[in-house]
């Protein structure tokens, strides 16, 4: 299959019929995942703090340190959440927070060590903005910071904080957050020391189609060099309770269009995740025919999207049934996409 260039991608995105685009993506998905299996992971989001100095305009989750709703979980609370996750068959925790101004690298390495001392669970943690912040704060290189975190127990890195990898858009949405090149650099350094990461994209806010293509291009280029991304996860901006709540956000058709284009463009990323957390189970089922091959996490707990007023109550059984009734085999996977159990 021939790789498509930016101009072709833009043309597909703007002009092509949604069903044609979907079918194209579906055919690629079938080739890459010919077993007809759609995977999911049992894990829990643990957001250790909602205090964040970045204050992005699209975010409904962050609080100032002196806000009455500000929190920082203590270790016992985190352990309790991990106990529950393991009891539910979970294999991973996604540990992510705001950028709390009082927490230094000792906090992070201490937390990771204490988790690893007690549990055998994959810690998927700290998106590039958090890692960059720590490096900056302690005058460490990105690599030194990553090595310290990995040594303390960090296994893999989630792809959050990418938003749109176009500085024009970042300047509007998240002026205090790291720039596009910095996000990519953290991921490249992580891949170089053998850590796997995912990549995300948040669309449906103020970006133009060209920005979406720029984002996909940046991910594809880095993946060509490192091969370190396990999956790409496009999800749509949820406007509720944010500074940008006047924006309507992406509709279902917009979502499917971006998803399908992502599958077509990212020929070197094996897995594309459907985002039932932002789209609901029904549209996530449709997404399985528009390029997606993975249902992401069962989300025993999710806080960030919920803060924007969107929540779907979904159990592991609901996810398995949704995958099967959409015409696929359902399987639980680990962080590295190894199949643990078929249903």
């Amino acid at each position: 299959m021939e790789r498509i260039d930016r101009d072709t991608a833009l043309k597909f995105f703007k002009d092509s019929d949604l069903l044609d685009l979907g079918e194209h993506a579906d055919n690629i998905r079938k080739k890459l995942h010919s077993d007809g299996i759609v995977t999911f992971i049992v894990d829990r989001n643990i957001n250790y703090t909602n205090v964040c100095v970045n204050k992005c305009k699209f975010c409904a989750f962050y609080r100032d340190e002196d806000s009455p709703d500000a929190y920082l979980l203590d270790k016992d609370e985190i352990f309790k959440k991990i106990d529950e996750t393991i009891a539910l068959g979970g294999t991973q925790i996604l540990l992510q927070g705001g950028i709390h101004p009082d927490l230094g690298i000792d906090y992070y390495t201490g937390l990771l060590k204490s988790i690893k001392n007690r549990y055998s669970i994959n810690v998927h943690g700290f998106s590039p903005p958090e890692i960059y912040y720590l490096a900056d704060r302690h005058h460490l290189t990105i690599k030194e910071t990553l090595v310290m975190l990995r040594h303390a127990g960090l296994d893999s890195i989630p792809g959050g904080g990418a938003e749109i990898l176009s500085d024009r858009v970042r300047e509007i949405l998240s002026p205090k957050k790291i720039k596009s090149s910095q996000w990519l650099r953290v991921m490249e350094e992580a891949h170089k020391i053998g850590m796997r990461t995912t990549a995300t994209m948040m669309f449906g806010s103020v970006e133009e189609p060209e920005d979406i293509i720029e984002h996909l291009e940046a991910i594809r280029n880095l993946q060509d060099r490192t091969g370190g991304f396990t999956a790409f996860i496009p999800w749509s901006f949820q406007p509720g309770n944010t500074e940008l709540s006047q924006i309507g956000g992406a509709t279902a058709v917009d979502y499917l269009r971006v998803l399908a284009l992502s599958r077509i463009y990212l020929d070197n990323v094996k897995s594309i995740q459907a985002s039932w957390v932002t789209q609901g189970l029904k549209l996530a089922q449709v997404a399985l025919r528009f390029g997606a091959d993975d249902f992401g996490s069962t989300m025993i707990e999710e806080n960030v999207v919920r803060a924007a007023g969107v929540s779907y109550l979904v159990s592991k059984e609901d996810i398995i049934e949704a995958i099967k009734s959409a015409g696929f085999k359902a399987a639980q996977r680990d962080t590295y996409y190894n199949i643990l159990k078929e249903f």
């Binding site: 044609d20 309507g248 509709t251 029904k282 009734s325």
Partner: protein, 353 residues
């Protein structure tokens, strides 16, 4: 197989039951969807219709107690309610510029026929411009029994009192075996069709529905669609067909939600089989606004309306809001690449950009 069906559709030849079954069994979602969209655009261009309407359910007290229903209550049971005519009028005073009110309710054991006539008259008196779309075939049959009038006379009394249109509910699945399992106390499929035929003969337009995704087979769905197509051939009285996806929560049957892939295919195949229906509706309350929007590219040309207050599907675990604004509806339609057309109850254009 799909190719020969596709040729038939494009040349305007009618599909057979075998064709319809083959479409349901086909995994080629995109080909089926494209074909349906093609037919939809032949009939309605790029138009996607919506209406500024309101639903009112006068009572949830029902003597039928169908097993797929989470809305109904018995008299005296916790949660049972009945609205007075004054309360119904109050709801319509909300002032959203409704052009249609959709009224369906349970089969109340005590209300006399006169109550329904009074309800219609009072609404018409207070809101002469609102079209009243009311009472499923099941309710009409019940009114005929409590009034002792024949179906024809029952309909003509209702029409004189202000009934303009009838919704398509209560059709469920016509096939006898499944219908007996779902709703043994409800009128038969044949009776439902008889009532609709009588309504059409009395110049009352109606809609038609099909509840799918519970216990029925593909053949049962196809049988349902063909019985509707046959009646429409005789009367031409159906305006729109509305496939209704089963919702499992709080029902006796339980089970799962239909898959969105099935929802889209069912919309598309309905569009292809029901060549004599002008409109296929993707009812957003049941499909969710997201899948409804996608359905506009799979053969649907209508997504219903503002609704304001929805009780029946929400009793069974609807994952949608109870209402949508006019602006929301327009936005969804435009983003699907279709032309939003605000319609009245008879599909006349009220507003188009």
């Amino acid at each position: 197989m799909l190719n020969s069906i596709s040729d038939k559709v494009i040349s305007g030849e009618r599909l057979t039951k075998e064709d319809a079954v083959a479409l349901f069994e086909s995994g080629d979602l995109f080909a089926v969807g494209r074909l349906a969209n093609n037919i939809s655009e032949k009939k309605n261009g790029k138009n996607a219709y919506f209406i500024v309407n309101r639903h009112i359910n006068p009572t949830n007290i029902c003597i039928n107690r169908c097993k797929f229903c989470a809305f109904s209550r018995s008299k005296g049971e916790a949660g049972a309610y009945e609205l007075t005519i004054e309360e119904i009028i109050e709801k319509l005073k909300d002032g959203h510029g409704f052009s249609e009110v959709h009224i369906v309710g349970g089969l109340h054991p005590d209300w006399p026929f006169q109550y329904y006539l009074d309800m219609l008259r009072s609404i018409k008196k207070e809101f002469p411009f609102i079209v009243i779309k009311a009472f499923t075939a099941v309710e009409i049959d019940y009114m005929s029994r409590i009034s002792g009038l024949g179906i024809g006379d029952t309909l003509s009394e209702l029409k004189k009192s202000g009934l303009d249109l009838m919704p398509g509910g209560g059709a469920e699945i016509f096939a006898e075996g499944i219908r007996n399992k779902l709703c043994p106390e409800k009128i038969s499929g044949d009776r439902w069709l008889e009532v609709m035929e009588a309504a059409h003969n009395a110049s009352i337009k109606t809609n038609a529905t099909m509840l799918y995704g519970h216990l029925e087979s593909i053949e049962d769905r196809v049988d349902h669609l063909f019985r509707l197509r046959d009646l429409q051939d005789r009367t031409g009285g159906f305006q729109a067909f509305i496939p209704l996806s089963y919702h499992p929560k709080n029902t006796e049957i339980g089970g799962f939600y239909s898959s969105a892939i099935d929802d889209l295919k069912t919309i598309a195949i309905s569009r292809l089989v029901l060549d004599n229906f002008n409109h296929i509706k993707a009812y957003w309350i049941m499909l969710g606004e997201k899948v409804s929007q996608v359905a506009l590219l799979f053969g649907a040309d209508d997504i219903d309306g503002t609704i304001i207050e929805e009780k029946i599907t929400h009793s069974a675990g609807a994952m949608t809001e109870e209402g949508m604004t006019r602006e929301d509806l327009i936005h969804l339609i435009k983003r699907a690449g279709k032309t939003p057309v605000q319609r009245d109850a008879f599909y006349n254009t009220i507003w188009k950009e």
